[in-house]
């Protein structure tokens, strides 16, 4: 049986996490290639629907990486994002996909090391949880 390699989507704020990922690269820090980054102008841009669609399309884990609390470029986008993540957790629990597959993390642009560490931690956590239950079920075109 093939080893399970999780697909993880990270919605990264342009002002912090995306730059932190860039810094991790410049510092030659290793983090798992399972993490696919989507840059967003602010973590507050990430909607409930974006998170759900990622799972619907087969992601095993999703996280939103926003600025440290109080440091959002748009004042409160990261707080809003955290509330949406909490809502999606509840929804995923309700439908049996598992709320623990989605997370909110906060970091600053200078935290390249932390970015790599978070990527490693979340990848490991999802690896332990196993595949998204609907990952391999093919859908008929509607």
């Amino acid at each position: 049986m093939e080893a399970f390699e999780p697909v993880i989507i990270a919605f990264c704020c342009h002002y912090c996490a995306y730059t932190a990922a860039d810094m991790a690269g410049s510092q030659r820090l290793c983090y798992p290639p399972n993490v696919k980054i989507i840059r967003v102008p602010c973590s507050g841009k990430v909607d409930t629907l974006h998170l759900l669609k990622a799972f619907e399309n087969g992601a095993d884990g999703v996280y939103v990486a926003g600025c440290l609390e109080g440091d959002c470029h748009f004042k409160s986008g990261n707080v809003r994002a955290a509330k949406r993540v909490a809502q999606v957790r509840q929804l995923l629990d309700e439908i049996g996909i598992g709320g623990e597959r989605v997370e909110m993390v906060n970091l600053s642009a200078g935290m390249g090391e932390r970015f790599a560490e978070m990527a490693r931690q979340i990848t490991e956590k999802i690896r332990k949880l196993g595949p998204n239950p609907i990952r391999n079920i093919t859908r008929l075109a509607s």
Partner: protein, 222 residues
């Protein structure tokens, strides 16, 4: 606006379980404003249903559509081509929208995905509160612009009752006493003497007690 809240997922899932192809219809009016059944909520519910059924090994085919207004036949007509080929319709509009779909598409079962709750106003982002019961004989002109029907737990015409404490209602310290609010407002407006006038017992017939209500505007009706 008319406010609504999404029904528990389990209830929605149970209602559409026998079907393979459904049409999920939102409404761009009140339920969009109260974030219960607009385009975005249609997308979210569709995704949740899709995943929930996939997990059970079932491919549910969902068509999504959001109408400008689900309570007007002109807009509902837009659905004609989409209804062909689906087995059931799931509506995220208020009860008026659900019933309009049932009237227009008689041979398709229509299920509500939201619970229609009250006529209310937005207190702040994400919070809506009841403001009107549609009693058909508005009292706001004599009650300082605060409705004792919608906001007094006992619907008293001449309050407050003995349950009013420090401006709060006895049902909960979170609920303002409507009659305290009325008194405060009348005082602010210098209309304290209005408070002394006894409001007679209310005739509830215009409020629905005489059966379903209808408005016919002869100048407009065809």
């Amino acid at each position: 606006m008319i406010t609504a809240e999404r029904k528990p997922l389990e209830e929605i899932i149970d209602s559409i379980r026998p079907f393979q192809r459904i049409l999920l219809v939102g409404c761009n009016e009140c339920v969009t404003v109260c974030a219960a059944g607009g385009r975005k909520e249609v997308g979210i519910l569709s995704s949740l249903l899709q995943m929930s059924f996939l997990k059970q090994g079932k491919n549910l085919q969902i068509r999504e559509h959001t109408l400008e207004r689900q309570c007007d036949p002109e807009y509902v007509e837009e659905l004609t081509s989409l209804v062909d080929g689906v087995e059931a319709i799931l509506s995220m509009a208020c009860g008026c929208g659900v019933q309009e779909l049932s009237r227009r598409f008689k041979n398709k079962p229509v299920f509500p995905a939201v619970n229609t709750t009250f006529m209310g106003a937005s207190e702040r982002q994400g919070v809506w509160a009841e403001r009107c019961r549609g009693c058909g004989d508005c009292l706001l002109g004599i009650t300082g612009g605060i409705c004792p029907i919608a906001r007094c737990s006992k619907q008293l015409m001449n309050g407050p009752c003995g349950g009013s404490t420090s401006g709060k209602c006895e049902i909960s310290p979170e609920v303002d006493c409507a009659w305290q609010l009325i008194w405060d407002r009348l005082k602010l407006l210098g209309l304290e003497n209005r408070y002394e006038e006894i409001i007679p017992a209310k005739d509830w017939r215009p409020g629905g007690a005489a059966g379903p209500r209808k408005i016919i505007r002869e100048d407009l009706a065809e």
